[in-house]
Amino acid sequence: MRALITEPPDVCLLGVRNVSKVFPGVVALHDVSLRLERGTVHALVGENGAGKSTLMKIIAGIYTPDAGELRLQGRTLRLSSPRQALHNGIAMIHQELNLMPFMSVAENIWIRREPVNAFGLISHRELRRRTRALLERLRIDIDPEAEVRALPIAARQMIEIAKALSHESKLLIMDEPTSALTERDADHLFAVIRDLKAQGTGVFYITHRMDELFEIADEVSVLRDGRYVGTDSPRNLTRDELIRMMVGRELSRIFPSEPARPGPVVLSARQLTLDQQFRDVSFDLHAGEILGIAGLVGSGRSQLASALFGLTPASCGRVWIEGCEVKVDSPRAAMARGMAFVTEDRKETGCFLGLSVLENLEISVLNRDFVRFGFVRARAVTQACAAMSRLLGVKTPDLHERIDNLSGGNQQKVLLGRWLLTGPKILILDEPTRGVDVAAKAEIHQLIARLVAQGAAVLMISSELPEILGMSHRIMVMHEGRVTGILEREQADQVKIMELAAR
């Protein structure tokens, strides 16, 4: 399929040629080529971590590619900053909004480019006039003088779009622009996008929502594991075909296949609810079982995990651990019940960057063991940590190495080790192999399987369907905060999960 796009007969708006990008420990993009025509919407789809955002950030000048080139209307384009991209008419609207809440709409849109009067001072009248003209052109009904923080999310999204267009961009990148919008706002956005198309603007459009892709896109390209899979018109594709292209990786990687020996129920949850995060979540988790939780980003999976562990307790619902009803309202309470939680974001809520491997390993177990009269029994704890580090195969010169200097996979092993030292009965793993290289990934999978074989109960959240399918005994699928189905391993496949997850 790639052969089709090597030599374009005509000049396209943007050509991406053989672009690769490597981050420490992972290859984010591998030899990807794409083209975007003038006046079209080109959708990019793929699982989380497929490389869509990385590719878009390269086009927007945020990352520089390690190999390959970009061609804008036939000219080679080298970008070293987002500002240069803007100069070349490329604007990106980010998923997380980048507006200054205490400034007005007009000030946000024209920041650094404010019109000035004869004295070199900002001309507020001209600023207002320009903003009004821009917003009218986009049929956005927002007061240019309003403070951004007072506006609803949908309006902010529109302001981001207006800001991007104020640069007279010919190429617009939208990263899941509708994720925070209601259907009506989304329809408005689509109308605006159609206007832009008519004016010749090219749009790259990242989305997880299949329906809107069929509504708005002229072409759709699929990325998988950082590689280009193919491009086609949505008219020629069915939903199922597209999903298959997204996940169609073979399950060739050997997942440990421990026989399912479900023991007694260790944890059961009934009607757990947390406003705006998840509703009426009920499930049972058995000893010696991996219950996978699948769902798209924003489905409430991680919030459910945080709630179970007492970080942000659920507002309603009941939880039983080993038959006793419990109220877990803090991580300490969760730990006292034998729970452990490896969080989704290693940097934000996992690692103590700047501290050593040892200090990262020992911290959770110091609450209980290895302490006498407040003094840490250094030798004993170091021995235990060294043994754990060996067991997990952490690659580090010694335990005193700063954790920052380890690869993502090794950091992840250290975090797992931190919790294994506490001897947990219930292990909640949120994206246990995100950003981890292939070799470490397999090792982590083996390790989880071993723990389960020894009777631990594991709740595993993952955005990678092969991981979910390969590891789990049962799979719970969530969509917009609700459980849309619990599948037995035998009846589950990627298409079924995606259907439950994407609705």
Binding site: F309, C351, G354, I363, T396
Partner: protein, 342 residues
């Protein structure tokens, strides 16, 4: 391809690491360098040795001992990622309260005429309690309202200064008992400084209390997930810092044999400077008591050195400011060189 690349990265990460020096090595060199510079300048300009003078060495440490005691507490606060601006004012309040309970019966206008000639333990415990209370207030404000430490301790700093003045309507408290004055005489303040430094050096390195401080400073969210009661621990740390500021207040009033509402002015900044020169990072997670002790000594050497060379005090402040900034710049370069990619 991707596997090969991944393995390459792992190898880079586990490659040979340069020999590790204690982080204080650099700052210790600065201390020795400064001392030697003054020694040299001493022989050239005043024809005297700077270091080979027991009296001068004692004074050198004595004049920064109070700053050092405060700095031991402030270092712990800084490692949690916080700051304590209230310590100077807490020194004043403690000095006033402790002194008012340490007056001898010779005092003509005692604050509490019926409470004179008390055993020395009373003013000392009262002073420590006042310091602890101020620290507890700091910690509670920070932990339970989650306002920035800078603001919470700024508020306490201003109010505490006011309380110190209000306590005796601005009148100094004098005529203290000999036993109380002994706390500030001779080398006792230096002993107290080095004693507290030793205790908290051990606490930071070998106890759970210390381990949790570093963890909270390095990543408060991860600390919470790891089961650390972050709010409670912060309250403890600020209370410890307050208690040490109280101890500094006791020493200050004992040395002056009086309590004055203007005591401890700007001490908080000197203490922060000592900790920062000693390698503590205001972004949290990094810092050591040994570094802070060396940082305190550097302040002492600079002060004594300038006096010794009979240079105006103005220059002394200018140089002190430059040293603080230079220390942090040097530290940042060191971190950038060491923690590649961090």
């Amino acid at each position: 391809m991707s596997q090969a690349l991944a393995q390459q990265t792992v190898q880079v990460a586990s490659g040979k690491r340069p020999r590790r020096f204690p982080p204080e090595a650099g700052i210790l060199m600065v201390l020795l360098g400064l001392a030697l510079a003054f020694e040299l300048l001493g022989w050239i300009f005043v024809r005297q040795s700077f270091l080979l003078n027991e009296q001068r060495l004692l004074v050198m440490i004595l004049q920064v001992a109070v700053i050092g005691i405060i700095a031991v507490g402030v270092t712990q606060v800084i490692i949690t990622g916080g700051i304590d601006l209230s310590s100077g004012s807490v020194v004043a309040v403690t000095a006033m309260v402790a002194a008012s309970l340490a007056q001898s019966s010779d005092a003509v206008t005692a604050v509490y005429p019926s409470l004179t000639d008390l055993p020395v333990l009373v003013p000392v415990l009262a002073g420590l309690a006042v310091g602890a209370a101020a620290g507890f207030l700091n910690g509670t404000l920070i932990a339970w309202t989650s306002i920035p430490p800078f603001i919470a301790t700024l508020g306490v700093m201003v109010s505490a200064r006011g309380i110190a003045k209000w306590y005796t309507r601005g009148q100094p408290v004098s005529m203290l008992t000999d036993a109380y004055a002994d706390i500030g005489s001779g080398a006792v303040p230096v002993m107290i400084f080095l004693g507290t430094a030793l205790v908290f050096h051990i606490a930071l390195r070998y106890t759970r209390y210390g381990k949790f401080i570093y963890a909270i400073g390095a990543n408060p969210q991860a600390a919470r997930v790891s089961g650390i009661h972050v709010a409670r621990h912060l309250i403890v740390v600020y209370t410890v810092a307050g208690t040490l500021a109280g101890l500094a207040g006791i020493v200050t009033s004992a040395r002056a044999v009086s309590g004055q509402a203007g005591m401890g002015m700007m001490y908080e900044l000197d203490a922060i400077a000592a900790a920062v020169i000693g390698g503590a990072s205001l972004s949290g997670g990094i810092g050591r008591i040994t570094g802070t002790v060396i940082g305190t000594m550097i302040l002492g050497v600079v002060t004594s050195g300038f006096t010794f060379l009979r240079i105006d005090a103005y220059y002394q402040e200018i140089v002190k400011g430059a040293i603080i900034v230079a220390a942090v710049i040097a530290d940042q370069y060191r971190h950038r060189a060491r923690g590649h990619g961090a």
